[in-house]
């Protein structure tokens, strides 16, 4: 399921990032303890419904198969799992400690964890660095204990982590996501990150690993990026960032990873602080986001303007092969939508080429005489023939060398007909399995009552994007990544 969009590993010249990896070997192992722990201790576990300690207890028990130690000074058990009064009473090694107790209680717990040799900790509790000097002092104290033995700390003030493929939900999110995913997601924002992730799951996207790192007191963006880069289960990396720390390392790591797997990032806070006192012309012209933009371009990170674009781009990358170029073929039943999509595609760096005469003739022989066999192919609203025409036109574009990307617009009645959605999904997957490696993305323009039909496509990994604007933006970003790879000598989808 994962091979489609993958990119060949390329041997990399000795660079600062490979040196960095040597240094970070231990960090890699520690991050792995977070995502693949053999044992998890929940500090602040609670049996009382509605308490944070209970949400976490339930989430852990729900799907995680490793050893769980509940830590609660009063109860003997929590959610059917034996509880211990404190860290030191736990009889075995702790790979991951999840901490949900109030902030002032956290530093002594970290000290205990350090003494027993715990490998990692996710600190959910808020009231640290984000909450003024007192909180900052607590955070520093906590980190001092953690650093003694190198406990890898996620958070504080974070939402938690998931490893979906082993059923590990160490977060305050509801429910354990399905297995079999290969998108990994690092988010600085907890709640919005989770909103993005659950929205994506609504669209049948499956995830591998998710981390909300909150205050980032003990973990750097580039370390997690590097880990995802090496992680066999991760095919697409998503980042939702408010800031990047250690930008140099981040840039170097991203540069090597993006040659073998795509990184999509949203960076918020782009507009603030643009005006600062500056002695030079250059500084006066340079906004705070400029450096990020430059770093993203240089390292091949696909920039998503917002959370929803992030989801759309990741979906396109995860489910479909990478396009080999930026020429797009559009199939529509509405001239107006087709023309709008053409405009938006061209504005997003895509080309909507004229189809060759042979292809035009072939299409023209299928569609009504008053319809258009040019690009966009506009079959007009000939409902009874939709199943046949969408299928045949899609196949024609797959077999043609005129385009690199296929976009059927499913508008109104076409979207309301489940048999049309089924036919599109089947044709695309048939062509792909016959070895014609070209992506298809559906531009979906329909009413609420057609939503169920979108599932027909998305369950079969045919991405649907709402309306032309989002469609063009997502595809434009993906095609930009193709260009990045090609200009660096990597053929997109070159292996297999």
């Amino acid at each position: 399921m994962s091979g489609r969009g993958s990119i060949p590993k390329r041997s990399l010249s000795a660079s600062s990032s490979s040196e960095m990896k040597e240094v970070n070997g231990l960090e890699h192992e520690r991050i792995d303890a977070i995502f693949n722990p053999k044992s998890v201790a929940l500090v602040g576990a609670s049996s009382k419904a509605g308490k944070m300690g209970n949400v976490f207890a339930k989430n852990l028990v729900d799907g995680y198969q490793g050893t769980i130690y509940m830590v609660n000074p009063k109860d003997d058990e929590v959610e059917g799992v034996k509880a211990f009064p404190d860290i030191k009473s736990i009889p075995g090694p702790i790979d991951l400690a999840v901490i949900v107790v109030p902030a002032p209680a956290v530093p002594p717990i970290m000290e205990d964890l350090s003494e027993v040799g715990a490998k990692s900790a996710v600190v959910i509790t808020a009231g640290f660095g984000e909450a003024g000097p007192e909180g900052k002092a607590l955070q520093d104290k906590m980190m001092e204990s953690a650093r003694k033995t190198g406990i890898k700390v996620v958070g504080p003030n974070c939402f938690g982590i998931y490893n979906c493929n082993i059923g590990l939900n160490a977060s305050m999110g509801i429910g354990t996501p399905p297995k079999g995913g290969d998108i990994s997601f690092l988010t600085q924002s907890g709640a919005y990150g989770m909103a993005i992730f659950t929205f994506a799951m609504d669209h049948h996207m499956k995830f591998a690993k998710i981390m909300a790192h909150g205050n980032k007191a003990g973990i750097d963006d580039f370390e997690v990026l590097d880990y995802f880069g090496d992680d066999e289960e991760t095919k697409v990396i998503c980042l939702f960032l408010e800031s990047v720390d250690k930008g140099r390392e981040f840039l170097e790591v991203a540069k090597t990873i993006s040659l073998r797997k795509p990184i999509v990032a949203t960076k918020t806070g782009r507009t603030a602080g643009a005006a600062r006192a500056a002695a030079s012309h250059t500084a006066a012209m340079t906004g705070s986001f400029t450096a990020y933009e430059a770093a993203f371009k240089q390292s091949g990170i696909i920039f998503a303007r917002n959370g929803m674009d992030l989801v759309n781009i990741a979906k396109g990358l995860d489910w479909q092969p990478l396009p080999r170029g930026n020429r797009i073929g559009i199939i529509t039943n509405s001239g107006g939508t087709g023309v709008e999509l053409v405009d938006l595609c061209e504005e997003n760096g895509l080309i909507v080429p004229e189809l060759s005469p042979e292809i035009r003739d072939e299409v023209a022989s299928l569609i009504p005489p008053y319809a258009s066999a040019r690009n966009p192919i506009d079959m007009t609203p000939v409902w009874p023939k939709f199943v046949e025409l969408y299928s045949k036109c899609i196949r024609i574009l797959y077999e043609s060398d005129d385009v690199d990307i296929i976009v059927p617009i499913l508008l109104q009645r076409a979207a309301l007909m489940p048999e049309v959605c089924q036919a599109v999904a089947d044709t695309v997957n048939d062509c792909l399995s016959e070895g014609m490696k070209k992506p298809t993305y559906v531009c979906w323009v329909a009413t609420k009552n057609a939503l169920g039909n979108m599932d027909i496509l998305q369950e079969k990994r045919i991405p649907c994007f709402d309306w032309p604007e989002r469609t063009a933006r997502a595809i434009g970003s993906i095609a930009q990544y193709t260009r990045f790879l090609k200009s660096r000598g990597v053929e997109p989808g070159g292996e297999e």
């Binding site: 930008g247 140099r248 250059t282 012209m285 660096r488």
Partner: protein, 229 residues
């Protein structure tokens, strides 16, 4: 210690937040970035001699450890086309500089007035990513159209290629409708050299090389401002 480092250390020791133009030129030249033929003069007589040697027209600027914004200060005269005008300009520049209290004059810089396409290269230092290099067309193109491209230094060759292709004015650089284009190889080489300079010299907080003149023979810096931090 490299000459560039020496210059910067000296400026910092003197409590300056920038280097003077001749100092900036020396730093650039050490990195292989060519500058318009120039001379620092301490008398009207040497100014005329140097202008004769460099060839007319010339540009003359006051060099002072107190003046960073030369144009605003009235410390620049351009298009000076004869020995007599050089002499006049010398006294005018000296006079207006010395009218300002606390301004010491190191000398008067005489440099060749160049022709070609105006290019700007600048930099700032981003707290997370380090030196951020800006490259674009100078003059009205940067003032009005902000036709510039940014990358984090150090640059690889492919970064330079992509910066070039990002510019709307890319066509002008390559020569448009019979206009003389810029020597692309020299331009690329200079961008890489500036990137190395910025990576090496961490004390440079901001830099403006504006304008750089580019033509078919190569690119040369005509004005340099380097701010230390």
């Amino acid at each position: 210690m490299s000459k560039a480092t020496e210059i910067i250390t000296k400026a910092k020791n003197e409590g300056r937040t920038f280097v003077t133009e001749p100092e900036a030129y020396a730093i650039l030249e050490e990195y292989g970035v060519k500058v318009a033929p120039w001379a620092l003069c301490d008398s009207a007589k040497t100014a005329v001699e140097e202008a004769d040697r460099i060839g007319y027209p010339v540009v003359m600027k006051v060099v002072s450890p107190q003046i960073v914004h030369k144009t605003e200060f009235g410390a620049v005269k351009v298009n000076i086309s004869s020995p007599q005008k050089v002499e006049e300009a010398y006294f005018q520049l000296m006079g207006s500089a010395l009218d300002h209290e606390g301004v010491e004059v190191t000398g008067i810089l005489v440099s060749k007035m160049l022709k070609g396409l105006e290019i700007i290269v600048g930099s700032t230092r981003d707290p997370q990513f380090g030196p951020l290099l800006m490259f674009g067309l100078g003059g009205v193109f940067v003032e009005v159209f902000k036709d510039v491209s940014y990358r984090i230094a150090p640059l690889e060759e492919i970064d330079v290629d992509e910066m070039l292709s990002e510019l709307k004015g890319n066509k002008l650089i390559h020569g448009f409708r019979g206009m003389e284009g810029v020597n692309i190889e020299d331009l690329k080489r200079v961008l890489i050299s500036i990137s190395t300079l910025l990576t090496d010299l961490q004390d440079i907080a901001e830099m403006d090389l504006n304008p750089i003149f580019g033509n078919s023979t190569g690119v040369r810096v005509a004005d340099a401002r380097i701010i230390l931090g």
